[in-house]
Symmetry: C2
Subunit: 208 residues, 2 copies
């Protein structure tokens, strides 16, 4: 049984590797806007679920011949703050504005995971769920914010922060699963694997 | 200004490195039992504070000549569950018993940090504080627990679990700061550094 990660995210891959799994990585060519347009006024939960499912299904179809016995995991995450969904800031100016809004406040990291099981090249089971983790932001000084923006880190990550990099100094705490915030929830993935009849420990690399 | 970590913990060092700081590592020879005995019926908070202070002070005295301008950070952590303080299980049998108790329940990770500032070889400022993070344990199956114990990971860590290794699959969530659970709280360290007049960003390695 192969573990296939349907995501290009190096952060998700790093979380899985640190937790004993060396997945095969395949990136779906899913058109996220097209998936969103097929839904009628979706809630954020419906949207991340649909995207996670679409990614897992696209990759499963691609790899079924090569890896006929596999579990394919699709993921989608979004950070919301004050009702707005926040993507990657892209520029230091946008990242600075975001941090001025977020400092001292709380955001919500919503993640959706879909797990699809292939047996003999055929999809036999599929399950999906969402999870939310609350992130409490600290209040960096302007001197700290200048230094953080100058590193470039916050520009390239959703919400403009990390908890496992330089951003960890400026996150006061979370309520939920820390791996969710990095990009893939280990406890949720374990639960979904269980629902399709696979124990995660049987996917660990030899030696743990 | 040098950042000196008064701890032998590879997990603490890894947290700091991932967060942009390359500390000098010096391990104090503090006799933890002797520190505890000098206190009259201490609370867990008083105990971790006293140990964190003792470690920072011992290392500061040692390194003052070599690194006259430095901040020395001492840390002490304990996990309590149902009123008991849990150390490293040591054996698979003890780790299994612990997990049977902890599964589905919540523990409390109490951490104490002390920051001592040296200027020109003299201690000019010192501050210390504690922080608690709640850890919610999932319920591994016996098959999963067998596999986890067989890796050896839980035997060698306080409380018999990690959130940044294989144990991450079996921790449902936390309420607090994830770096606290790994061993050193980044937001608390940042706050204590600020109290002795040092911004953490000025301790980041060149390039962040």
């Amino acid at each position: 049984m192969q573990f296939v990660l349907a995501s290009a995210s190096p952060a998700r891959l790093a979380v899985l590797r640190a937790a004993g799994v060396d997945p095969i990585v395949r990136v779906s060519g899913v058109d996220e806007d097209a998936v969103a347009e097929r839904l009628d006024d979706p809630s954020p939960e419906q949207l991340v679920l649909a995207l996670a499912r679409a990614k897992a299904e696209a990759v499963a179809a691609e790899i079924a011949a090569e890896h006929p016995d596999a579990v394919v995991v699709g993921c989608d995450s979004m950070l919301s703050f004050g009702g707005d969904v926040l993507g990657k800031p892209g520029t230091a100016e946008v990242a600075r504005e975001r941090w001025h809004q977020m400092a001292g406040g709380t955001g919500e990291l919503l993640t959706g995971h879909a797990v699809l099981r292939l047996d003999g090249g055929t999809a036999t089971k599929e399950t999906a769920a969402t999870e939310t983790t609350v992130v409490r932001f600290a209040s960096p000084t302007e001197h700290e914010l200048d230094a953080y923006l100058a590193t470039g880190e916050p520009l390239a990550v959703a919400g403009g922060f990390t908890i496992d990099g330089l951003g960890g100094w400026f996150v006061a705490g979370i309520d939920g699963d820390p791996s969710t915030v990095i990009g893939i929830s280990l406890p949720l993935t374990r639960r979904l694997l269980g629902e399709v009849g696979v124990s995660v420990v049987d996917l660990w690399r030899p030696g743990g």
